[in-house]
Amino acid sequence: MEVFLVSLLNGLVYGMLLFMLASGLTLILSMMGVLNFAHASAYMLGAYFAFTISQYIGFWPALVLAPLLCGTIGAAIEMYGLRRVHRNGHIAELLFTFGLALIIEKVVQMTWGLIPVPYRIPAGLDFPLFTVYGTQFPAYRAFMLLISALMFGAIWLGLTRTRIGLVIQAALHHPEMVGALGHNVPRVFTTVFAAGTALAGLAGVIGGNYHVTEPAMAFTMGPIVFVVVVFGGLGSLTGCFIASLLMGLIQTFAVVLDYSVADLLKWFGFTVTSATPFHEVLTVPLPRIGALLPYVLLVLILVFRPRGLMGTRDT
């Protein structure tokens, strides 16, 4: 019970962090169809910007400025790079963002060094909010939950209250036509991409000091974000939200549930010894597999339900 409750909280926090990252990517990937490998880099930039800014004028301004900065960069990228590349197809776009990711990582290393920077949780939030069974729950985590909840709301409104979603989807196939119907396609694309990047930046501000702010943080976060978005289903914010929480919880609980297939078999009165074939596979404990569960799920869902959890169209 104790373990369950605490893990639930941990899972929730991690899941929400994932969501903060993924929400930006759903905009970019599932609306613009850009496999944006630089998304996690925006997350990293967000963190580093926040670190630098908070050194001078504190965390709260950083919370606003860093994402804006990222958004601006995003806009620039879209206007001067992505737009050109768009013509050459998705793989080109992907590689473009991939190149960006490399550059950003290097630039970050060159500006902030190879080793982690001391980006700390703001003193104002650095206190245990409450204690469950002797384990403290830091206020900062509650703050994270709050922010991500707000994000969800904001994006949801943005998508339902406006036709941006429609315009983009239409423009993917017949941009001229959408233009001829009186929509300023380029501006919409820029807006969406900038918004996506800004969201990633915000996630960085929040996640950077919760985890560690180091040049590898983008690389480590990259794949899992794709998993979340695709698993949740392209074009579905709710799907993305659910997927995030799911992944978060799964990974947290996997750690605390110390069982292996072998134990399961023992249940059925079959004991695994080092003699049994694949005993290595059978005896690996859940905590070790935890990290790869998301990918197992990803593969399974794509094979049997290519549109993901709640996707509106096939991946």
Binding site: L35, G81, R84, V85, N88, G89, H90, I91, A92, E93, L94, L95, F96, F98, G99, L100, A101, L102, I103, E105, K106, V107, Q109, M110, T111, G113, L114, P223, F226, V227, V230, L234, E280, V281, V284, R288, I289, A291, L292, Y295, V296, L298, V299, L302, V303, P306, D314, T315
Partner: protein
């Protein structure tokens, strides 16, 4: 080793003989030339004072060879079948692991196999796993396929760290290529011998892949890439096409992996990791996925960057990134694309008229590149290099990055070169258009 060199020639003959033996010679000689060239290249780095080959050069060339196989096999999926894989390295790596285990088994006397055939084992391993993963991945196409392969990639990479038995965890599986069994009585203790083996296998694999593109499967792969729905209505099961193509590319990737095991004598999880897969993608795209040999060219560039520049510069990844962006923005067709653009002019027989314009843009180009590199290096030195206590040199002579001079120099070269380049580019474009128009007129466009 010389045995390898000769043994492959008949290979080429029998296989490429199929389409009318008329142009056989014509078709065979570029291959022979390439092979001979490959075998001569290392001697450029030969150190006559110590009478030793440069181990580094040989490793790099070998790397190029095996990575080329890998990249080409990747392109069997991306270029030919339109299947973008983010997990191609798992086939390469698993092939490598199989090869490594085999060599250890042979060394332990558990089985008999000449070193020359070890890559084949890698290939079979790759094929096996190609069938396995292909069955899952090729259920879908497009983005779904890409994501599945990404998932599989991460899975295998994670497993590689988890299961000591087969993967040896973080330590990887190390092996010894000197197993004392050889078809040609070669020990393969020296990198040179190994290099010859690599050349041989590269030639074989590349040739086979080349021919595969001209088979019914190869063509239908193109067809399903272009319009998988239509393919169904001419009697083909697109999924089956994808599957076969995937499995075959697994075979070749595996050969690459097998060679890797021989060259490095250790196979670690990074051979299956995402970064390796990315390398293939880079190579394929930079070289140009459109033409068959594109990935080969791309591999040369990428490996030189990775193994060569990475030793010279901390910031090599940045150069890769920039190169990349420049390519996708200005030369989406990759290197072969650029070359292909010259074809009409060449056919019009006026290629040499481009030499002068090229030289003229090359100069400012070189300038701005130098400026850029200098600035990047200065920056990366002050933040990283200095920390590692290296000295900053331009050419032979050391400069102090703390002073303004080098920075100004860099900026000047970059900006000046850039502006100049702009100027020249205009002239170049004019010339180019003129020649193109002429080519059109001559009707040698397509």
């Amino acid at each position: 080793m010389s045995a390898d060199a000769t043994q492959r020639a008949p290979q080429g003959r029998t296989l490429s003989a199929a389409p009318g033996s008329a142009g056989l010679a014509r078709r065979a000689w570029p291959w022979l030339v390439a092979i001979v060239a490959a075998l001569l290249l290392p001697w450029l780095f030969f150190d006559w004072s110590t009478h030793r080959h440069s181990g580094f050069a040989l490793t790099m060339l070998s790397e190029i060879g095996l990575m080329a196989i890998f990249a080409l096999s990747f392109n069997m999926q991306m270029g030919q079948a339109g299947l973008l894989s983010f997990g191609h390295a798992i086939l390469f790596g698993l092939g490598g692991y199989c090869a490594a285990h085999t060599m250890n088994a042979v060394k332990a006397g558990a089985m008999w196999l000449p070193v020359e055939l070890v890559p084949l084992v890698g290939g079979l391993g790759g094929l096996l796993f190609g069938v396995l993963f292909g069955y899952v991945a090729t259920k879908q196409r497009a983005t779904a396929f890409a994501m599945i392969t990404m998932g599989l990639g991460e899975l295998v990479a994670a497993c590689a760290l988890m299961f000591m038995g087969f993967f040896g965890g973080e330590g990887g599986i190390s092996t010894d290529r000197v197993i004392g069994i050889s078809l040609f009585g070669v020990s393969y203790s020296s990198s040179w011998q190994v290099y010859c083996l690599v050349v041989a296998w590269t030639a074989i694999a590349v040739l086979l892949m080349r021919l595969q593109t001209q088979t019914p499967l190869g063509r239908m792969a193109n067809a399903t890439r272009d319009n998988f729905e239509r393919a169904q209505f001419v009697g083909y099961d697109p999924r089956m096409v994808r599957f076969c193509q995937f499995a075959l590319s697994g075979f070749f990737a595996g050969i690459g992996g097998g060679l890797y095991a021989i060259v490095y004598e250790i196979v670690t999880f990074d051979t299956v990791a995402a970064a390796k897969s990315a390398t293939a993608l880079l190579a394929a795209y930079i070289g140009g996925a459109g033409g068959f040999f594109g990935p080969f060219l791309g591999t040369i560039v990428v490996v030189l960057l990775q193994s060569g520049v990475s030793l010279l510069s901390n910031a090599w990844l940045l150069y890769v990134g920039v190169l990349f962006i420049v390519m996708v923005m200005y030369a989406p067709g990759g290197l072969v694309g650029i070359i292909a653009q010259h074809a009409p002019i060449a056919r019009a027989g006026r290629l040499r008229e481009l030499i002068v314009p090229y030289v003229r843009i090359l100069l400012p180009g070189a300038f701005s590149v130098f400026g850029f590199v200098l600035l990047v290096e200065l920056a990366s030195f002050t933040t990283i290099g200095a920390a590692q206590g290296k000295a900053f040199k331009i050419g032979p002579q050391a400069v102090d990055p703390a002073t303004a001079f080098p920075w100004l120099l860099g900026a000047a070269a970059l900006i000046g070169g850039g502006l100049w380049l702009r100027l020249e580019a205009r002239g170049f474009r004019a010339r180019w258009d003129a020649l193109m128009a002429d080519a059109k007129a001559k009707g040698v466009m397509l």
